[in-house]
Amino acid sequence: MKRRNIVGALAAVAMMAASHAAAAADKIAVITPYLAQPGTQFYVEAFQAKAKDFGWEVNVVDTKGDVAAAIARIEDAANQKVSAIVINVDPSQVAAGLEAAKAAGVPVFGMDAGATPLLVTNVTSNGYSMAADTAAYVTNRIGGKGNVVMFVFDAFPPVQQRGVIADTIFKNNPGIKVLDRVTPDVQDGGIADSRAKMEAILSANPEKGAISAVWAAWDQPALGALQAIEAAGRTGEGIVITGIDANPQAREAIGKGGNFEASMAQDFKGIGATVADAVKRHLSGEKIKQGVIYVPTKLITSANVNE
């Protein structure tokens, strides 16, 4: 009886040892509760592709929405003294894990995670430049004059910074008047309330050409505004709509060549690859100065929406 157990134990240990044999390479743990989300998958795949070139051993840990489990896995990886940890989760929620990593001397990198001194750096898209691109697109399309409706959300910092940039660009064009700066109710996702708000604005400005453009800080209000314009039968007035994020629904609308003309696509793969580069730089002894590394984004119009 006892002998059986010992043999079983040895077999189990041998099997685990075999799977553990190749241990010389740098070990990188990628930890996220959000692997099921499409954006995260793109980051991680691009990161893994680069990691393969660098000869790293990457362990991707998906805690399936469980943030406390993400902390636990960060602590485990820190304990194990991996070469680096990459996270895709709000750092303020996993501060306990980040402090464990700091105590163990293991560097942590953010993959579109949010900025904090506990990270070596965070790689993300530049909200300022995304807003600048779409606001400049609007200005250009309406020839620098006309009434513009803005959809903003100042309570959420990443979206607030987009609004500030658009304000500046519109202010810099004397011919442009911001007719309304709307904060939609986002409880339902933002489309329905934005539509209702836009319908009210259309009713208040009934004459043709009274509204030249709608600039939205993200796609949902842009889609809501589009629905309102369609429902009011005013698609023929040439009102230009722009959003940010280029989600599938927005891409579809842009592809139809209607009022919704432009949005911004984040380069998820570029973010994943840039994180790998940052880890590589850090491991080879370089001190990374920027707390945030920005990856360029791309203006999406009907010309390139199907690429």
Binding site: M1, M16, A17, A29, V61, V67, A68, R73, Q93, A96
Partner: protein, 331 residues
Amino acid sequence: MAETENDPASLLQYFRRYGTLTCFMLLLLGFWLLLPDTFMTGRNIFNVTQQMSMLAVVAFAMTIVMAMGDFDLSVGSMASLAGIVAAVVFRETGLVPLGIGLALLAGLIGGVLNGFLVSYVGILPFVATLGTLTVFSGAAFLASGGKTIFGADIPEAFGVFARGGIPLWQSGEITVILPNLTIIAVLTLAIVWFVLEKMVFGRHLYAMGGNAEAARLAGIPVKRLRLMAYAAAGLGAALAGLMYASRVASANPTQGSGLMLDAIAAVFLGMTISRNGEPRVLNTLIGVLLLGVLSNGLTQLSVDSYVRDIIVGVIIIAAVAASSLDKINRN
């Protein structure tokens, strides 16, 4: 010895009694051999206890209900709801004790509701707590507006608590601490152990689990005890929800939902160790630690996170299967 060695029934019996324990010991041994520097260290052991503390509290609470042969499926959503209640109170008032007090009160009320539905209305525990699971979850979404409450809304002291502990000794540059969350889990274990093993209340619960009708005829106030057991489970779930919220310094309306199935798994694993297959809280602890050690060790070995789930499932099925086959054999 030579005779029993070839007797399949006794082999089965051995596995029924000691299979889970053997498995636990092998895991410890295996991880220790494979991770000589990082696994069996004071720091990592406290680390695992801290990681498992929330699940442990839910599983201990679940043990009380399962001692009567019942289930409480609502513990996970109650944990979420308690976190949300505390966070909303923090946001509105900034008062930590008030938030904690109201969250625990919500747990107690929810538990009493479960107990009332099962005990006095006579709804099957599975159905009643499935119903309240949905209600608590809906309430958590309603109170939070479906959003995660975090950042400045959560008082610093509340978030820092889960990171702190009692400093024990210095290991290199790192101070090994006994984490606060571990202390709470150990205190909960002590209370539940005392209530179930040393008090009449506990003995009555096990009697009800053996045969509820006989227990009633023997003069045990079955309805009242059942209500109290569910109330305790609700309170335990709320406590775990607060621990979770403190650990992630935020509250999300779904964050506790993973606790329920893991808690049941831990109690089941524990039941496979008990002599008569009844849930005992110290055995539940072994179930919890087995799940925790497995997660910790496999992460350190860089084993794919999905493999872990399969292994956990296989261990549970194997352990319970051994117990079931043994019963068939004996009959």
